[in-house]
């Protein structure tokens, strides 16, 4: 299924360690989240737009994958336009709705900010292979391997969910209850899926244990998770984008710290 399988390709971005991708998005996100102003967000967005050209996604794929982010940005902005803190000239007022200069400015800033934080995350994560991510988390960040691999094993079962879901749908039609009550049926199917997955998860746990998983003693790694030059470069790029955005914002006097803002 297209949502779940990572993209693959020859560009360098695909071979970068997922932990570095995580780090880069973290840096940008933290920097941008600290302030709600349109300068930092737009500068970051501009830099990212340039970098996306090297991301290895076709324009169509890019638009498809980033649709949820764009939609969320729009709705977030809409909320702020209508209910943001009023300041400056008020254009429209009704009950609790208050559209003013201040709220419009905040809304634009919010819109750009969500895009600036969300787009690179989507682009980078779309190229992440879960097994590589697990390797990275366990070998580079030294998170406990039992948890990382247990989670990975559980995650793999996701692929089976879709097959099961289709069968569950057909079965409901065969049982005569597919005509009415879509929501109830959805809930029933979701529950059945949960039961089947927990059962499969328990069996998978037994299979993993039977192969020595969770036994005391050191573990070796068949695939090495490397954190080298390429990864450092990605982190630096992330840091540079963040720094540029923050500097531009502070320099133009637009920095608007969220706490106490």
């Amino acid at each position: 299924m297209s949502v779940l399988t990572p993209e693959a390709g020859p560009q360098a971005i695909y071979r970068v360690n997922p932990v570095a991708k995580l780090g880069a998005t973290a840096i940008i996100s933290i920097a941008l989240v600290l302030s709600i102003d349109w300068v930092s967000a737009s500068v970051a967005l501009a830099c990212e737009a340039v970098l996306f050209l090297f991301a290895g996604l076709s324009p169509r794929r890019f638009l498809l994958r980033t649709l949820p982010v764009s939609a969320a940005a729009l709705f977030g902005a809409l909320t702020i336009v209508l209910y943001g803190r009023p300041s400056g000239t008020t254009y429209f007022e009704f009950l609790l709705i208050n559209v003013s200069d201040g709220s419009i400015e905040l809304a634009i800033a919010t819109f750009l900010r969500v895009l600036a934080i969300g787009l690179p995350a989507v682009v980078l994560f779309v190229t992440v292979d879960p097994t590589d991510l697990a390797d990275g988390l366990a070998q580079v960040l030294r998170l406990p391997s039992r948890f990382v691999l247990g989670a990975l094993g559980g995650m793999r079962l996701i692929g089976l969910f879709i097959e099961d879901w289709k069968s569950l749908e057909l079965a409901r039609r065969a049982r005569g209850i597919a005509d009415r009550g879509r929501l109830r049926r959805f809930a029933g199917q979701a529950f059945a899926l949960l039961v089947l997955s927990i059962r499969r998860g328990s069996k998978l746990a037994t299979a993993m244990e039977a192969r020595g998983f969770g036994a005391p003693g050191p573990r070796s790694w068949a695939r090495q998770s490397r954190f080298g030059g390429r990864e450092a470069v990605l982190l630096l790029i992330g840091a540079a984008v963040a720094a540029l955005a923050v500097t531009a914002s502070v320099a133009t006097g637009n920095w608007n710290f969220i706490v106490g803002g």
Partner: protein, 207 residues
């Protein structure tokens, strides 16, 4: 109870070490929850829009859906860190599926929300799993979510909005995540699929 012949000493000592089946099933719950999150991410806007229009901030009444992973995980697995872990897994997978707020912030939100539930379970020393505790854990997750969201996403909003949002989030957490998880865990227990967990035993089975 069926395990009356297990020696009393063993039944009193609660084993806090995670077994492999604990880790895998917690992960499965997290992944399953992330799918629900994903579906809800697509569907929630039209549902919450009227609430948002009438009483801004009240849209948070529906946000409890994003909190149930942690509460359910904690309730079923019953080990320290279960609520936190399940919510973080759910958030991480949801981020991988392309959630709106971008990978890092989605995971961070999961961390905070999971912590909200976890702290409640911790306060009861992971020994009490009654309905009151579960509802409280849901409320705790809701409170954590409110703090996180208001600080990061709505710093520009006015006080009325923030207050309504916070209260709605807590109520939503208590009802959807708390009560909802309670009944869901009960239904799961009846299907006999949780027999490897303490939460799955208690319903008598045939000899």
């Amino acid at each position: 109870m069926q395990n009356t012949t297990i020696s009393p000493i063993q039944s009193r000592r609660i084993n806090f070490r995670w077994r492999v089946v604990d880790i895998v099933v917690a992960s499965v719950l997290g992944v399953a929850a992330s799918l629900i999150f994903f579906a809800w991410n697509q569907l929630y806007t039209p549902v919450t829009a009227p609430f948002e229009a009438l009483l801004p901030g009240s849209q948070a009444l529906f946000y409890g859906v994003w909190l149930f992973a942690g509460v359910l995980g904690g309730l079923i697995i019953r080990k320290p860190g279960a609520a936190l872990y399940t919510e973080v897994v759910a958030a991480t997978v949801s981020a991988l599926l392309g959630a709106q707020w971008g990978g890092f912030l989605t995971i961070e939100a999961g961390l905070v929300q999971g912590l909200g539930a976890e702290l409640v379970f911790l306060a009861f020393l992971y020994s009490s799993w009654r309905i009151g505790v579960v509802v409280l854990a849901g409320a705790g997750a809701g409170a954590a979510m409110a703090v996180n969201d208001l600080l990061l996403f709505f710093p520009g909003a006015d006080t009325a909005f923030q207050a309504i949002y916070a209260v709605s989030a807590i109520v939503s957490g208590a009802v959807i995540a708390g009560l909802g998880s309670w009944f869901l865990a009960g239904a799961l227990r009846k299907t006999g699929v949780l027999t490897r967990f303490a939460s799955g035993r208690g319903a008598p089975t045939g000899a």
